[in-house]
Structure formats: structure tokens, C-alpha cells
């Protein structure tokens, strides 16, 4: 019963945090789709698959926080789609940073209280 509740909570947290994690990663440099999946693989709370992350990346692009470009690879390898953060994306990242600190501080305060 306890384990089940955790999974549900975790999946809700995941949804919100994944966007933040992706913006943070991309604010440090361009990445392609599968690369993001690999990087997040090492974090159990952020592990994700194509079906979650690719639509999310499209959403962020449509909102103007990310851009994309295709890079042709060598013979026999399919082209790769790279993602790059935009000016607006960097501003968004700063907002998310504030929101995140806010959240952490609130929880800490509640714990102390």
C-alpha cells in the first residue's frame, strides 16, 4: 500500500520536474533527443522514454523556449534532431529556478515547523 502511494506521487512529481530538468540541461548546451534520455537514465526519479520526452520537447518548442535543427550524420546513420535553448527559454529557466527554490524552502520550513 505504501509503495503504491509513492509511485503515484513520484509520477506526478516527475511530470513537473522533467520539464525543469530538460531546460536546465539544454541551458548548458545543445543536445539531441536520445542523448537527453540517456542523461536522465541515471536519475531514477527522472528516467523517461521517447513517448514522454519527445512530445514534451515539441511543447517547449511551440512555446518558444527551444529551437531544433537537424544534423546529418555519416553514411548509413539517420539524421539527428538537436535541441537548443532560446532567449525566452533562458528567461523561463530563471523563472523556474525561482519557483524551485521557493518550493524547496517551503518544504524545509514545513519540516522545521
Amino acid at each position: 500500500m505504501v509503495i503504491k502511494m509513492n509511485e503515484e506521487w513520484i509520477s506526478q512529481i516527475k511530470r513537473g520536474t522533467l520539464e525543469y530538468a530538460i531546460i536546465l540541461i539544454l541551458s548548458k548546451g545543445d543536445r539531441y533527443g536520445y542523448e537527453l534520455i540517456q542523461m536522465l537514465e541515471e536519475f531514477p526519479m527522472l528516467k523517461t522514454k521517447e513517448s514522454t520526452i519527445y512530445p514534451l520537447l515539441r511543447r517547449l518548442m511551440k512555446k518558444g523556449y527551444l529551437e531544433s535543427y537537424w544534423k546529418n550524420m555519416e553514411e548509413g546513420t539517420p539524421p539527428r534532431k538537436y535541441y537548443k535553448i532560446t532567449e525566452n527559454g533562458i528567461l523561463y529557466a530563471k523563472e523556474l529556478d525561482k519557483d524551485w527554490s521557493n518550493l524547496i524552502n517551503s518544504i524545509s520550513e514545513i519540516k522545521r515547523g
Binding site: 539531441y32 533527443g33 536520445y34 534520455i37 522514454k49 521517447e50 513517448s51 514522454t52 519527445y54 512530445p55 515539441r58 511543447r59 511551440k62 537537424w70 548509413g76 546513420t77 539517420p78 539524421p79 539527428r80 534532431k81
Partner: protein
């Protein structure tokens, strides 16, 4: 150069994944058919690149497919977004909504609310019939001013006392049965819409 589907895309690039993966991707392609072509090819190319990487990392084709959701679920996670995010009306986007709800035609989508409303109406009528029957029955027995002024009229005959109760119950049962019928029909049609057999037809 019009890229109409995933197979043509492959001919362009001359790169093919393993047969099973190609098959998986063309199934995803089918569920995306109402999406704008450029968006669809973009999605499929990215997935293809991702699958290629997975195979390079050592995953077998079966492992990759096992780790992915069903082609339909994968397509739906993209479509769900495109309905919400795209502004403006276009026939393709409109149709993709029906793809999302697996509706066979517009007629099916309007039948469900109609049946649902009928269901509620019948059950309501059933309840009202019981009340009318009871009040009609009481009219002969108890004299309350409110009830005195009401009449239980059944096919142009006013009923009082016991016959009123019987008629009320009979009508209540009939309405309840009709309500149950409509409810079952609603559930059945929803079930049909969700089943894999119904697909949108091109016009």
C-alpha cells in the same frame, strides 16, 4: 517532392532499420495520418533516429519494441499535444480529434450524449411515476389539501386509491426498463468506439 508516408521517407534517406522496427514505425505513421505532413515526418524521423541509437547501444529490436508503448499509445501522446497546442481550425486537426476519440463517424459521437440524457430522463420519469402513484393512492385515503388538488391522470382516466398505486408502479417499471436499456446501449456504443475495429475512413 511530396512525402506522403513513412515508406517514402525511407526511400529518400535510403536508411532502413530492422524490419520489426520499420513495421512499428509505419504503424505509428497510420495513427498520425491526420497530422500535418511536415510535423508527422519530423516525429517519425526523430523516433527512427532514437531507435537507431538504441540498437547501436546494444539493445535488440525486440527489446526496443518491448520498451516502447503500443504504436497507438505512442501516436496518441503526440496527438494529445497537437490538439491542445495548435490554434486555428483545419480539417486535418479536426479529424485528428476524431482519431483521438476513435470515433467511426460524427454520428456515433452525437449518439452517446443523446442516449445518456435519455437514460437519465427515463429514470427520472420512473421516479416521478412512483410518486404520482403513491399520491394518487393516498388521495382516496388521506385528505391533505395539496394532494386534493392534484390528479393522477392515466390515459384520460383519473385514478384514485389502489388502481393509482398499481398504475404508478407499472409506469415506473416501464420507465426504469427503458432507462436500463438506454444505459446499456450507451455503454455498448462506447465499447464499440474504443475497440480497434473502427477506424476513420478517408472521404
Amino acid at each position: 517532392m511530396k512525402i506522403r508516408n513513412y515508406e517514402n521517407l525511407n526511400k529518400e534517406e535510403n536508411i532502413n532499420l530492422n524490419k520489426e522496427l520499420e513495421k512499428y514505425l509505419s504503424q505509428v505513421d497510420r495513427y498520425l495520418k491526420y497530422m500535418p505532413i511536415s510535423e508527422k515526418t519530423d516525429i517519425l524521423s526523430e523516433l527512427k533516429s532514437s531507435f537507431y541509437e538504441r540498437v547501436q547501444m546494444g539493445q535488440s529490436e525486440e527489446m526496443v519494441i518491448a520498451e516502447m508503448e503500443s504504436p497507438k499509445a505512442l501516436a496518441m501522446s503526440y496527438i494529445g499535444d497537437s490538439i491542445v497546442k495548435n490554434k486555428g481550425f483545419s480539417f486535418k486537426r479536426f479529424m485528428s480529434m476524431f482519431g483521438f476519440y476513435s470515433a467511426a463517424s460524427i454520428a456515433w459521437v452525437s449518439i452517446i450524449p443523446t442516449l445518456a440524457i435519455l437514460t437519465v430522463s427515463f429514470f427520472f420519469s420512473s421516479g416521478v411515476s412512483i410518486i404520482a402513484g403513491i399520491m394518487g393512492a393516498l388521495k382516496g385515503i388521506i385528505h391533505i389539501s395539496t394532494i386534493e388538488n392534484l390528479k393522477f391522470v392515466f390515459f384520460a382516466y383519473e385514478l384514485k386509491g389502489f388502481p393509482a398505486l398499481i398504475a404508478g408502479l407499472a409506469m415506473a417499471i416501464v420507465f426504469a426498463l427503458l432507462g436500463i436499456l438506454c444505459w446499456k446501449a450507451t455503454v455498448y456504443i462506447i465499447h464499440i468506439l474504443n475497440s480497434q475495429k473502427w477506424k476513420l475512413k478517408h472521404n
